[in-house]
Amino acid sequence: MASHTQAGADVVLWNASADAHDNISARTYGFWLYLLSDALIIAAVVACYAVLDNPLNAAGGPLGNQFLSASKGLVQTFLVLGSVLSYSLATVALKRGNKLGVGLGMVGAILLAVLFLGIGMGDLAALSAAGNGFARSGYLSCFFTLIVTHALHMGFGILWMLVMLVQIGVFGFTENVVARLLNLRMFWQFQASVWVVVYIYVYLFGGAH
């Protein structure tokens, strides 16, 4: 008869050196999957823009090549990349547990993002004031949707940074706060990735043909 070991205190059921549950990694991976799904929403809007970017859908109104400024878009590109750099440098300060460094990096990121949004929203306001608002044509509806969708993400990111500045002051670098800061880093970097797609396709390709 084969020997049979009864489960008991002396039986090792699990590998003692196995990985423990990692809360921070689980949260950042979950947030990463959210970002990928968010990217698909952006892709849907870009696809819509690509379809509507022709004179037929401009309904006699302007197309991008008549009102978009590639140089102003380039300034916005450097502002958003600078903002991402500033936040990224804040996370280098996080490595050292430097609250002041993290705070300064986030404030720099917020200021550059506000400048970025100021230029973008100013352009949309000027376009609307000239009678070329959201409802002027199918093309402009999609253009406004694309730009405003990105701007809303930026606005939410700014709000999130303000909340994190408070949380760092109140709670310090706890596991929850660090996980949120890492998620916010990905969220903020994602905004730069989306913007370079918008700049290349809408401002440079759309503006040049």
């Binding site: 549950h21 990217a39 892709a43 004179p55 990349l81 280098v92 996080l94 670098f173 990735s193 797609v197």
Partner: protein
């Protein structure tokens, strides 16, 4: 991955590096500036499309590697894998939509260029 009592010792916190982030900013910014300069020269559409697609791909790859820190390390590999598996979805969503509507316009609608000249 082992649990860390100190959240600042987590691999995703430790991966931050000034050099990497500054390089990411310079590389991505340079690609955008290059694309801007080339687009100003108004090359033919196909050539412009190739230049812009190349600059965009370069910029996105440098951001993925240097800002997001995606690689095949134990801490990041599943993020890299999920991104790679999502890329075909981007291609399907944008590519097939554009292709379908371009075909639709060609088969069912007047030439947009003609419509535009009529509107002028």
């Amino acid at each position: 991955m082992a649990a860390h009592n100190d959240p600042l010792a987590h691999p995703e916190v430790r991966q931050g590096s000034v050099l990497r982030y500054v390089l990411g900013f310079i590389a991505s910014g340079a690609a955008m500036y290059f694309a801007y300069v080339e687009a100003l020269g108004k090359p033919p559409v196909v050539e412009l499309l190739e230049i812009l697609a190349g600059a965009l791909l370069f910029s996105l790859l440098t951001q993925a590697a240097l800002f997001f820190g995606l690689d095949i390390s134990r801490a990041q590999i599943w993020k890299s894998v999920s991104l790679i598996l999502t890329v075909p979805l981007f291609i399907i969503m944008i590519g097939i939509t554009v292709w379908a509507f371009a075909s639709l316009y060609n088969r069912t609608m007047p030439d947009p260029a003609i419509m535009n000249s009529m509107a002028m």
